[in-house]
Symmetry: C2
């Protein structure tokens, strides 16, 4: 069902291993596209699940093209989608975004030794 | 000299504009590669500037290939490099990493009104 994301320590804290780098590169490829970045942002910035019908007017692209981009975001584990009647609704997976945020952080590690 | 990074609000806070999305996609493309992600991490995790001679043993790649990947990271504004005698030394630009970290954060905005 849900993709488990085992890693990730911030890349500035310790060198990323080969396997983690390969897996993270796939996720980053999914967001390394202007349309997909905007789609992800439009979906993430909403308080409720986002209908593809609300995304279409934001782009000068066909519905199949938008659906294809959404599929790439879904396969990268960044969003989930569900058909409800005529339309498909999408929402982000916050843990997937938090993981990318943590990857790039340069903030010092919290020293919560106990 | 240094690239000014005008944006970015977290993508979950408000929809990214077209221009910001295009520019950010370029930076993300630079890190959406396993070798470059590892290079960036190896450089960022060091306390001092990193000699390309210390990066080479970590990869089964030629020096020109490593240098090419470093050039892509440099052109994306993620690292800086400088020749010192025989070798090139690199270091990360923390603001560039922090910007990516902020982009993906889902933490609520701080309400520091004053």
């Amino acid at each position: 069902m849900s993709k488990q994301t085992s890693c990730c320590a911030p890349l500035a804290r310790e060198p990323i291993g080969k396997d983690d780098a390969a897996e993270l590169a796939k996720v980053l490829k999914a967001v390394a596209d202007p349309v997909r970045l905007r789609l992800l942002s439009l979906i993430a910035a909403r308080d409720e699940d986002t209908c593809v019908c609300d995304l279409l007017p934001e782009f000068d692209l066909s519905q199949p093209t938008i659906s294809h981009h959404l599929k790439i975001l879904r396969e990268a584990g960044l969003i989930e989608s569900e058909r409800r009647g005529t339309w498909v609704y999408s929402w982000v997976i916050p843990q997937a975004l938090d993981r990318l945020s943590a990857l790039f952080t340069t903030a010092p590690a919290e020293t919560g030794a106990r």
